[in-house]
């Protein structure tokens, strides 16, 4: 039976897998020790659990457990990677290259470093969301110490050519960092095959708990170091002080293990469901997929329904949780910067909806979403003066709109 509301916003966060919760529970009450307590069994039990989780996490990305630094989540990992590399290597150079479509945790960290003397190049992506490698090649300088490119985009799901990007970074002697928050656990990610030196990811996007994430920091070829951003007890090989969140880490580890076991079948099932959803919705006139459709996360689609506004549309899509590139508030009338960077006009960006499927999404839910979305789009188009004008053959660009 279908229970509403249905959840199709798995790029924002995922529900925790009950198996993850089960693994975590003992570490709240019985096995509550501090993993840094070296002198009694409570500490040993906690440390053992953390070690095991570190292996589970490392294995999922093809790393060694010594290369995993536990953090509070991807935002902290992004900060630690970028600021930490800048501080450690700034004598070598002060240039960082990133993309305009990165997550705010990367962009705002780079902006922060600009105030401290860093030079940052924000490369624009192509209209399909992918980076043109020649642009990266052209932007590299002897001063470049870090290239930061996300693995899979949170809004449109496009997957960047990571191997090629890391190769260019390395050729010029720079390190390569990837925010892989949306990709790890969804598609195979291997830090060695992909040539990744640092990588951020988090538990709650892969059916694990919130408040726990990791930064992968390469130990060999090259040995990468980051300056810690928090002073204290010198946990996590001195790179991230603070008492370890043992239950969270245990859950994160379990979530990684489950992803490793089930990713392939999940991805297959979800991409079929996503395609069904997408193809059905594209039957609506004047609807367009945003971003490259070939190189894309299996569970994500982002569609613009022209002549209806996203926030209004979400309200009409009753009993469904999705996300829109439109934010109609006085604080921010700006539509999604990611979509705008693809070259989408503001009105198309305002008309976009992101659907994010997940491990617990059923076909029945997708069928419901298709019907519900179609009904909502048609309803709002009946209300839309722009749709009426379009139907009358009026060119909307020929109208002088009262800017406000």
């Amino acid at each position: 039976m279908l229970t509403t509301p249905i959840y199709l916003d798995n790029n924002a966060t995922t529900p925790m897998d009950p198996r993850v919760l089960e693994a975590m529970l003992p570490y709240f009450t019985q096995k509550f020790g501090n993993a840094a307590s070296r002198n009694h069994p409570f500490g040993w039990v906690a440390e053992e659990a953390v070690d095991y989780a570190r292996e589970q996490v490392a294995k999922l990305i093809g790393a060694s457990e010594k290369e995993i630094i536990f953090t509070s989540g991807a935002t902290e990992s992004d900060n630690l990677a970028i600021k930490g590399v800048y501080e450690m290597y700034k004598d070598k150079g002060n240039h960082i290259i990133t993309l305009t479509t990165e997550h705010k945790a990367v962009l705002d960290t780079c902006k922060h470093l600009e105030k401290l003397g860093a030079q940052v190049t924000y490369l624009e992506v192509e209209s399909d969301g992918l980076l043109d490698l020649q642009k990266l090649e052209a932007a590299m300088t002897p001063q470049t110490i870090l290239v930061s490119v996300m693995y899979g985009n949170n809004e449109i799901g496009v997957i960047q050519p990571i191997k090629e990007i890391s190769a260019i970074a390395h050729k010029h002697g720079a390190l390569f960092f990837s925010d892989a928050t949306q990709a790890v656990g969804k598609i195979p990610v291997n830090v060695n095959e992909d040539g990744i030196d640092l990588m951020a990811f988090t538990g709650h996007k892969m059916y694990g708990p919130k408040g726990v994430g990791a930064l992968y920091v390469r130990r060999k070829n090259p040995r990468v170091k980051v300056t810690s951003q928090m002073d204290g007890g010198g946990h996590e090989r001195g790179m991230r002080s603070g008492t370890l969140n043992v239950p969270g880490i245990v859950g994160f580890g379990k979530a990684c293990e489950l992803c490793q076991l089930e990713m392939e079948q999940d991805a297959k099932r979800l991409s079929a469901l996503r395609d069904k959803l997408e193809n059905s919705l594209l039957e609506l006139e004047e609807s367009y997929v945003n971003g490259n459709k070939q190189n894309r996360l299996p569970h994500t689609t982002n569609i613009s329904f022209k002549y209806v506004e996203g926030e209004g549309l979400m309200m009409a899509m009753k009993d469904m949780a999705v996300s829109s590139g439109s934010a109609c508030t006085s604080a921010s009338l700006e539509p999604s910067y990611v979509l705008k960077n693809l070259g989408l006009s503001d009105d198309l960006a305002h008309s976009s909806i992101r659907f994010g499927l997940g491990r617990f999404t059923t076909e029945e839910e997708v069928d419901f979403a298709i019907e519900n979305t179609k009904k909502a789009v048609n309803h709002l188009r009946e209300l839309s003066p722009l749709w009426e004008m379009f139907k009358e053959g009026i060119d909307l660009d020929s109208i002088e709109w009262a800017e406000h």
Binding site: E309, T329, H350, H404
Partner: protein, 137 residues
């Protein structure tokens, strides 16, 4: 952000959706907003020989609050004289729909649409357009 019951009511059952014949002399049309800003309202009034608004229709591209604001505006306009209609203030709409601060611009847009429709009617009928204060939102 949760919507008020009145916004949801107007949004789910919008009143007076539609189009009046804008070529008619006694129909005034206001088209305000811009697609790039995420909201466009078209509000139309039909006025009888006694300057009473006998019909009002709207179509809106925008969020739920924008749709509700214009739906409410058409309800209020019907039966009013154009002189009374021009006094409708956006804050009346804010109050009636319990709009939160971030949605006040929707009510401002509705007020602009009313005034713009009335002016269109006035100009068509040889009356001078009313000076409108420029609103910011």
């Amino acid at each position: 952000m949760a919507y008020s019951d009145k916004v949801i009511d107007h949004y789910s059952n919008p009143r007076n959706v539609g189009t009046l014949d804008k070529s008619k002399k006694n129909v005034g049309t206001g088209l305000v907003g811009a697609p790039e800003c995420g909201d466009v309202m078209r509000l139309q009034i039909e006025v009888d020989e006694n300057n009473i608004i006998t019909d009002a229709k709207f179509k809106t591209f925008g969020c739920g609050s924008a749709i509700a604001s214009s739906s409410l505006a058409t309800e209020w306009l019907k039966g009013k004289s154009i002189d009374d209609a021009i006094t409708i203030d956006n804050m009346d709409i804010v109050e009636e729909l319990a709009l939160p601060p971030v949605k006040i611009h929707c009510s401002v847009l509705a007020e602009d649409a009313i005034k713009s429709a009335i002016n269109d009617y006035r100009v068509k009928n040889g009356l001078p357009a009313l000076e409108l204060e420029k609103s910011h939102h």
